[in-house]
């Protein structure tokens, strides 16, 4: 186990979420779940981040932002789509301005189901993302 799985730094972006998944994501940082005990840091800076957590379906507004944040993140990086909307577009799938889930813009490694996704599910998603991160790091070196 390398240091990657011990210090995942996360950047969290709300693509067009109803805020349900965002509240659950931030709940992971509260004393009840406390993801910092696993070394997780919620950084606001894509250049410091390893894991990109996206909530909500992708619309015309958030499409370039997601692309921009993803490109600014240093390799190795993984993307976690949190919630039904981020995974598939959810109930907004057929809206005229929605292109679908996050995977319609950038490659997604882990899909976390739920509406809203529960904190336990999000933490599990991050843990699975760590395995993907390790694999990507091995492929790099």
């Amino acid at each position: 186990m390398s240091s990657f799985s011990k210090s995942p730094w996360i950047i969290h972006y709300d693509a067009s979420s109803c805020n349900g998944c965002d509240i659950e994501t931030l709940a992971c940082l509260t004393p009840l779940f406390d993801v910092e005990r696993l070394g997780v840091v919620n950084t606001g800076n894509p250049k410091h981040a390893d894991i990109f957590l996206v909530t909500g379906a992708v619309n015309e507004q958030s499409n370039p932002v997601i692309r921009n944040i993803y490109e600014q993140m240093p390799e190795p990086k993984v993307v976690v789509a949190v919630g039904a909307c981020a995974s598939t577009g959810g109930i907004f799938k057929d809206c005229y301005n929605v292109s679908g889930g996050v995977d319609s813009v950038i490659p997604v490694d882990v899909y976390v189901p739920g509406c809203a996704a529960r904190p336990e599910a999000i933490i599990d998603g991050v843990v699975q993302a760590l395995a993907a991160l390790e694999k990507k790091q091995k492929a790099r070196s």
């Binding site: 390398s2 240091s3 990657f4 011990k6 210090s7 730094w9 004393p31 406390d34 910092e36 005990r37 696993l38 070394g39 840091v41 919620n42 950084t43 606001g44 800076n45 250049k47 410091h48 390893d50 600014q72 240093p74 390799e75 190795p76 790091q137 070196s141």
Partner: protein, 316 residues
Amino acid sequence: MSIWLRIIVYLVAGPIVGGLLAGWDRRISARMQSRLGPPVFQPFYDVLKLWQKENIVVRRSQNYYILFFLLLVIFTGALFFAGLDLLLVIFALTLAAIFFVLGAFKASSPYSFIGAQRELIQMMAYEPMILLTAIGMYMTTKSFNIQDIASHPTLLVLVLPGIFLGFLYTLEIKFRKSPFDLSCSHHAHQELVQGITTEFSGRTLAMIEIAHWYETVFLLGWVYLFFASVPALGVAVSLMAFLLIILVDNVFARLKWQTALRSAWAVAAVFGFGNILVLSLLRTTPSTSQPAVNVAPLAINAVAPATSAVEPVQKN
């Protein structure tokens, strides 16, 4: 212990102790917020990870500034623990901070600009107090040499209580902790992103972290200097000072830079300058009665004949 041995001990043990202190900082902070917190070795895991990550830059030269920042911080601490001149230590420390700021300016991003400018303001805030600390230590021990200050028999804090309080205040600024986490807050995602460190990633960010570890050890070493005549007390007080900084970090919200600057200068004027004023008023009688042979530096002896030569000319 010889000078070189002490420098080598500092170079090896500095990052280990600094990293452990950073780990305790995160853990104690978490406990204060009734969380479990990360393992104590977390900062080492972070740096190891950052070392393996891709290094994205805006301009390649920004990384060289950070390399010099790290080298100069190490140089500052090495000078300090070798027991050399205190003024030289202060100048090296300032130079290191300037390289950090230049690196952030080089990256030309609005967030690192804000961070760099605020860092400059913070330097303006703490610099007077740090200089007054050196002056106060000189006035009690009659030497800027750290070796002499450390081996001086008096407990410096008893003579310099105001300067010690003022120094603790600047320590808050120097550690970039709340209420002075203006330039690179870990919590101001919306308005600062990561301030001065925004544009640094991978290995360069790891270097910044390691520089902070060295800086922590060096600054706590300076706290120790106030209690150097009783070593056990010195170590205990340095650790207590670190705990105090963590407590203040968790209790206070971030200040505006205007308030930070004003309060820092007020503290320097009241505690620092006040202490030196009292010291100079108390010290006038004994210093004149004593012969200046072993007390005054060469410069004073050199100036004295010059003034006496000038005075008759003015009278004529």
